[in-house]
Symmetry: C2
Subunit: 284 residues, 2 copies
């Protein structure tokens, strides 16, 4: 259960608390980790088993009707910050049967006819599952705010609505892990340029990415407001420096392990007579 090269608990170090300033976070740093890329990659591989084991216990408990817990990982970031890599390299390490992924793009006409949380509620993880939101209801106070996609008073209303919503989820047994992957403007430029350069990456590029990039400072301000108003004890935010992909993956893996350890899932007891079943099986 040791965290090896972690010198401080990433759950503490990266948590958004009182007085947090996004502008004070260095996207290139590796806070709390005493090692480089190689050590980080080794630890990521080593901790996969722990994560997988916890996930299986969680799943087992819910199948036996004994546990009601679930985990919800909310991923937010500017384009190219590495959400997909987290899904692939961190979440991809556990049994796919226990994971529910949801990507939230621009809302459809039908979705726009409902409250902004409508489409999100439908994708919450069932008990026993790890849910992953690739973007989320926070888009409605991020691009929603920057692009003025809703009236100002509606945007204002949403922060409180989000807190109420998440409080309800937490009360029903879901551990919410909110993560902003934080890259620098320069790193984003390099990554987008690489997408343009490589024919096998070009499909990930969207000309709209540059338009959003031009609004970088407005987005950072919108994130700061999100942190000020929605980093609450039941559902704190974590800002993960993400210029180094290996660090971001390692940190998110540790946050997930923490959330699962907190739920403390146990192998369920048999709801049948084990010795009797052994006899029946032996005779069959």
């Amino acid at each position: 259960m040791g965290k090896h090269a972690w010198t401080t608990d990433p759950g503490e170090t990266l948590r958004v608390g009182d007085g947090f300033r996004l502008s004070g976070v260095d996207p290139d740093a590796t806070p709390g980790f005493d090692g480089g890329k190689k050590a980080g990659e080794r630890l990521l591989a080593a901790r996969r088993e722990e994560l997988g084991d916890l996930q299986e216990r969680l799943f087992a408990g819910s199948r036996a009707g004994e546990a009601e817990g679930s985990v919800l990982l909310v991923l937010q970031a500017m384009d190219s910050a590495g959400k997909g890599g987290i899904v692939r390299h961190v979440v991809g390490g556990v049994d796919p049967q226990g994971v529910e992924l949801a990507s939230f793009g621009a809302p459809t006409t039908e979705e726009l006819e409902h409250d902004f949380l409508w489409r999100v509620r439908k994708r919450l993880p069932r008990p026993g599952f790890i849910g992953v939101f690739d973007r989320s209801h926070y888009e409605d106070v991020l691009i929603g705010r920057v692009r003025e996609l809703a009236p100002e008073d509606e945007i204002e209303r949403r922060y409180g609505a989000i807190n109420d919503f998440e409080r309800g989820i937490a009360a029903s047994g879901t551990r919410i892990v909110k993560v902003m992957l934080h890259i620098s403007r320069d790193e984003q430029k390099q990554r987008l340029m690489e997408r343009l350069d490589r024919p096998d990456k070009r499909w990930k590029y969207n000309p709209g990415d540059v338009d959003e990039r031009r609004l970088w400072d407005q987005y950072m301000a919108a994130y700061q407001t999100v942190f000020d108003r929605t980093s609450v004890p039941d559902a704190p935010w974590h800002v993960v420096p993400a210029d180094r992909k290996w660090y971001a993956r390692l940190a998110v893996q540790e946050l997930l392990i923490d959330a699962l350890e907190n739920l403390d899932p146990r192998w369920p007891a048999a709801d049948f007579d084990v010795e009797e079943e052994k006899r029946r099986l032996a005779d069959s």
Copy 2:
């Protein structure tokens, strides 16, 4: 692209063709593979990259609106034959964002009010995705037949309905990979006993498993009928010996790679002016 230790193409070797007899298949064999467990596990790890690359191309093409293809892996087997291991160790090797898993248990009351294909149609993979059915519409002619869950003429009707259904899916661009994992009765007994012995495996055990096990011969006969009537050129069955888990995983991985290579997904062309975007990005 070499198949290394494969001496024959598993797609050919394991395919159910004319005159196939399930009783002639040795569940402990490793047909077409010239190597043992170690070599098999090494090859599984090595081929993961090829599978992941093909999956990403398929996904990319569909995102760009250029391709309509998808792959549907149908997994059928007696209990404990290793369906879960295939999902975890083979399918788990590709990006979870490109996979759609569906498990079919006993039908709900609502599902029973509809035709047996109703619930299955709703879970077909979208273009660009790999869909995995953990059990499927074949249960309706397997347990359905053995347990007489429907009138005999309805069971008879279903074989033709399945062929029509799958022909339609294939025509719309889906490669259907149908796999029966074939374990021996003895191996099943050992695996179920292990589930009873180990507290961390007990949740997977169901007393009903022994009841089904007692009907082994009837199930094998029902499978034989499935093969006789639904192994068609557009959607052939493959019977994969599964007493050795490593072999079954390796074989299914190869079947998936074959299906994807057959679709031949290409990186999509940019639908924007790459040089112009490089200039816009550089200026931003």
